[in-house]
């Protein structure tokens, strides 16, 4: 019975580790590519980064610790998503503001063109 549990846990744990490593790699920018994540990049450096992430997970490090390691080495540039704090909120809010402004402008324009023409006696 124990043997069966252990045998089942082996591949499962490996799968779990791979999924975790993939999730971390997808949050990191490949340093030698243009706008590609470490998870998606076929470059050798990204493959080495993925192997390092896996090794760090196996050594018991948490996702946050691993992300912090890469930020310490490459700066916040390495993060594909900018952190949600301070001036960086602008990056997150700008598309919403632009969309809202565009919608308001479009609504005003449509209201104006659909208004019946005034007739002056």
């Amino acid at each position: 019975m124990w043997f069966l549990v252990a045998a089942a846990a082996g591949p499962l744990a490996a799968q779990d580790l791979d999924a975790q490593a993939q999730a971390i790699a997808s949050r990191l920018r490949c340093p030698v590519c243009q706008n590609e994540s470490v998870a998606d990049s076929p470059s050798e450096l990204s493959a080495q980064m993925r192997a390092l992430i896996r090794a760090k997970l196996q050594a018991g490090e948490s996702s946050d610790q691993i992300i912090a390691y890469f930020v310490a080495k490459y700066g916040e540039w390495i993060l594909l998503e900018p952190p949600r704090r301070g001036i960086l909120w602008l990056v997150w809010l700008a598309p919403v503001i632009a969309l809202g402004t565009g919608f308001a402008v479009a609504m005003r324009f449509l209201r104006r063109v659909s208004r019946p023409a005034r007739s002056y006696p």
Partner: protein, 187 residues
């Protein structure tokens, strides 16, 4: 009668706002396009240099721990990195020859390469400073490597004082090594 001027006033404001917004977007795009996306300031400058160990091409073992108190010039290179690595190789050799007796150690870290072309590169330029291969990429990642060549200057206290992206020349490194030598400390 007072309605018409209000409408004109509001319309002028709308146009002004639109113009300011468009100018801001164009300005931002121009700024982004004029920047070199690879020129990213390293967070490692001013911090303690990551220690590392590797097997050299001559079969001996190298460890930064054995060079405490020395000034280190750590150069990341590859045989396929043309022309920058080919330009800097003679410069690095001359830096090594000029300063090796003054407590300066040049170290070559070969990255993302194959052994045969890397050895051929070393022979071609007659490089005599320690050179080894970063087979797992761990040293490269520890130094936040973006590409090759990149060269780090480490002071006697083991702190990264300068990072150079592109071909490392004597003109760039000598003026930075000299003050470190003059600043004294153990060798």
């Amino acid at each position: 009668m007072a309605v018409a001027p209000v409408i004109v006033h509001r319309r002028a404001w709308s146009w002004a706002l639109l113009a300011v917004g468009a100018l801001a977007v164009v300005g931002l795009l121009t700024f982004g396009l004029r920047r070199d996306p690879r020129a990213i300031p390293s967070p490692l400058v001013g911090r303690p240099a990551p220690s590392f160990a590797m097997t050299l091409f001559d079969g001996s073992h190298f460890s930064t721990a054995a060079y405490r108190g020395k000034i280190l010039v750590v150069n990341f290179w590859a045989s396929w990195c043309y022309p920058a690595c080919y330009i800097e190789a003679p410069h690095l050799q001359r830096i090594w020859q000029r300063y090796q007796d003054s407590g300066v150690v040049v170290i070559g870290v070969n990255v993302q390469d194959r052994e045969a072309p890397a050895r051929a590169f070393i022979s071609r330029f007659g490089l005599t400073f320690p050179n080894g291969m970063d087979a797992t990429g761990r040293i490269s990642i520890d130094y936040g490597l973006y590409g090759v060549p990149e060269t780090f200057l480490i002071d006697r206290q083991g702190r990264i004082v300068y990072k150079h992206i592109g071909a490392a020349t004597e003109e760039i490194f000598v003026p930075r090594i000299e003050p470190l030598l003059k600043s004294g400390g153990q060798q």
